[in-house]
């Protein structure tokens, strides 16, 4: 990305002096670490004041036995320039601990976050406070484990089988 993100970062640092915990630059990609309490305000500021109108992706990472707190929620946010070369992209991360698996939903900021947050909830069990409709999106609704957690055995099909048998019984009526 050839766009200089310096003014964006300075503006964010001015607005949130306490809440930016780190700025990393790697191969032209900028990553900000933000405290999770401010994530909603931070994202709203990015969208409303700095014109980052497009949430390209929202996902999470499980750093079991690697980092503490265990989870990071990751936002890839995009700003469209008048020209193609003026597009800008920024990555925002927020740490979420195992004891308090909650973070504010950004669906009111970008409505496209709706299903992305549902997917993160489905795969990691992270709850999004203020989400309009937080249900599982990929796995069956009565499925219990969170399959993308590192302590989940990826070959464990027991829960899937239970959901399948239940769906069969319900379908038989």
């Amino acid at each position: 990305m050839s766009v200089d993100l310096e003014p964006v970062i300075n503006s964010l640092k001015n607005e949130f002096p306490q809440d930016i915990l780190g700025v990393k630059e790697y191969r032209g990609e900028t990553t900000l670490l933000v405290s999770k309490e401010q994530i909603f305000k931070f994202c709203a500021y990015l969208k409303d004041e700095l014109d980052f109108t497009f949430l390209a992706d929202l996902t999470a990472v499980d750093y079991l036995e690697v980092k503490s707190p265990r989870y990071e929620v990751v936002y890839h946010i995009h700003r469209f320039g008048p020209e193609c070369e003026e597009n800008a992209r920024i990555r925002v991360k927020a740490k979420v601990s195992e004891d308090e698996l909650k973070i504010d939903s950004v669906t009111p900021v970008w409505s496209g976050a709706d299903w992305l947050e549902r997917e993160v909830y489905d795969m990691f069990g992270i709850e999004f406070i203020g989400h309009p409709d937080l249900r599982r999106i990929l796995m069956p609704e009565d499925y219990e484990p969170f399959p993308l957690r590192k302590d989940f055995d990826v070959r464990n099909r027991e829960a899937s089988k239970r959901s399948f048998e239940k769906a069969l019984e319900e379908g038989a009526d």
């Binding site: 796995m139 069956p140 484990p145 399959p147 989940f152 055995d153 990826v154 070959r155 464990n156 099909r157 829960a159 899937s160 089988k161 959901s163 399948f164 769906a167 069969l168 379908g171």
Partner: protein
């Protein structure tokens, strides 16, 4: 089955057969497939239906998307547990007699997806008549499977109610 073309009958003649043999002869030559395509194998299955490979040469070109009008289910593609209950319900809605082809490695045994979500072979919940390996199988392989189903109908048949 016997053929009688005695000139005394005016040259028109008649066939003698059993109801079972006659019904199964009809069934085998007019299979109506229910395509249950969930992944890349379905593309190959469409190729089999289309003009280049032309499954209609075997009397099986009328792909019925309603299970109630079909008697051959071609399951082609990865079946997850969430999809499995749907697949089973559609199979249950098909009228007897019915046959199932498991097309591709995923339906035969899970393929590369040894994971929490994927059924390791649709014979966990469906009675499969013919398995076709391959990822995806060549259209010729699916044609061969349909011919095997035809042979099975010819040899074993199904009761006539």
């Amino acid at each position: 089955m016997g053929v009688n073309s005695d000139p005394l009958l005016g040259g028109e003649g008649f066939l003698t057969t059993t109801i079972e043999a006659f019904a199964n002869w009809g069934r085998k030559n007019s299979l109506w497939p229910m395509p249950f395509g969930t992944a890349c194998c379905a593309i190959e299955m469409m190729g089999v239906f289309a003009s280049r490979f032309d499954l209609s040469r075997f009397g099986a070109e009328v792909a019925r998307f309603s299970p109630r009008q079909a008697d051959l289910m071609i399951v082609s593609g990865t079946i997850t547990y969430k999809m499995a209950s749907v697949c089973r319900r559609i199979y249950d809605q098909m009228p007897e007699p019915k046959w199932v082809i498991a097309m591709g490695s995923c339906t035969c045994g899970g393929g590369p997806f040894d994971s929490y979500a994927v059924v390791q072979g649709i014979d966990e919940f469906l009675p499969v008549d013919v398995y076709v390996g391959g990822c995806p199988p060549r259209p010729e392989a699916l044609i061969d499977a349909v011919m095997k189903i035809q042979k099975k109908i010819e040899m074993k048949g199904a009761p006539v109610v």
